[in-house]
């Protein structure tokens, strides 16, 4: 019994690691960029290390480094961080019913590790249910944390030798990862609507330099997906009741004849 249990744990550890591996590799350029940019903008090594260690957020780190280098006010830096991170409120809400029942240490650690990437791997309806799935999530999220740190350290070490990486098109690695994660899940009409609205609005808001572009685009898109689903359900229901009433009248007619 213990052997099979240990085997099951090991399988989950392996699966969590392997599922996250492509995402860990995809953020290599971003991590190096974050680390090297911090050094190039005159952060000390300790400060540059603390960014991935405690802040642990790709775009928030990058933007904050530029803001700090330009002597932006503390309020500006913190507000911008908040705006960029606000999408995580949605993740916490979406996973609330599953995470709120967990013991504190699991909640804190999975909460800390709840990045876009871990959330993207948490779509299964049984995610976080049972010890094995928690181990899966911890290994997936934890390996992402370690790889993010590793890439940042690489950037910090190589920092002053690297050219300015911001113009190299490194952001495509992130885009292609998210394409790989999203496209296979678009299997029904509500998903098509959600993705289409999110795509259109996010581009529009970006062009308008709207600060909350990402979150507002996502929320409107989610609502459109939700409305589409409701509309489909209602149509299905009314179709069913139509069929049912036809059957009923047919039965009645048959009854009259006999």
């Amino acid at each position: 019994m213990t052997v099979t249990k240990r085997k099951a744990v090991w399988l989950m550890v392996k699966k969590g690691f392997l599922d996250m591996l492509p995402l860990n590799l995809a953020v290599l350029p971003w991590g190096i960029l974050c680390g090297s940019l911090a050094i190039q903008r005159d952060f000390s090594v300790l400060e540059a290390l603390l960014m991935p260690l405690v802040v642990f957020a790709g775009s928030a780190q990058l933007v904050a480094i530029e803001l700090m280098a330009n002597n932006a006010s503390l309020a500006t830096i913190l507000f911008t961080t908040f705006v960029i991170s606000s999408r995580h409120f949605l993740y916490g809400l979406a996973l609330r019913d599953k995470l709120k029942v967990l013991p504190t240490k699991w909640r804190y650690s999975l909460g800390f590790l709840l990045t876009d990437e871990l959330f993207a791997l948490s779509g299964n309806s049984k995610a976080f249910v049972g010890k094995l799935r928690l181990i899966y999530a911890l290994v997936a999220g934890g390996s992402f944390y370690l790889f993010w740190l590793l890439w940042n350290v690489t950037g910090i070490v190589a920092g002053s030798y690297l050219p300015d990486l911001t113009q190299l098109g490194l952001d495509f690695a992130i885009a292609v990862t998210f394409i790989a994660l999203v496209v296979p899940t678009v299997t029904n009409l509500p998903m098509v609507i959600t993705v289409a609205v999110a795509a259109l609005l996010s581009v529009l808001f970006k062009l308008l330099h709207f600060e909350l572009d990402l979150v507002v685009a996502a929320i409107i898109a989610m609502y459109c997906g939700y409305l589409t689903d409701r509309w489909q359900c209602r149509r299905q229901l009314s179709n069913q009741s139509l069929i049912a009433s036809k059957e009923l009248s047919k039965m009645k007619n048959n009854g009259d004849e006999s």
Binding site: Y91, R96, R107, A120, A198, L214
Partner: protein
């Protein structure tokens, strides 16, 4: 000063992730809200990747010689056909590097 800023930032990033998983918050999610939230992953991830493809330096780039667009198209097709994350990344990255290289000539 920088250290203080970093720790305050950490407080914010952790706070936004953790807040709604806290059990004693007086929030109860009905089935309607749960359905709405089930669209959060495709919505947020799409709102991140699509602007990377079409907006560069604050400008809309809808040209078919946009290497981001060419590579993203290949990636979308590969993802839809194969559903494999590795294959999609490989196809996307190779097309991206090739099209950038060829278009720069």
């Amino acid at each position: 000063m920088t250290l203080l800023t970093i720790f305050l930032m950490a407080f914010i990033t952790f706070g936004t992730r953790y807040l709604f998983t806290h059990p004693s918050l007086p929030i109860r999610l009905g089935p309607k809200v749960a359905k709405f939230l089930s669209y959060s992953a495709p919505a947020v991830l799409t709102a991140i990747w699509v602007p990377i493809i079409f907006v560069q330096q604050g400008q809309l780039n809808l040209s078919i010689t946009n290497p981001y667009f060419i590579a993203a198209s290949f990636a979308v097709i590969t993802a839809a056909k194969s559903k494999s994350i590795y294959l999609t990344m490989l196809a996307g990255l190779i097309t991206f590097i090739l099209s950038r290289y060829i278009l720069a000539m």
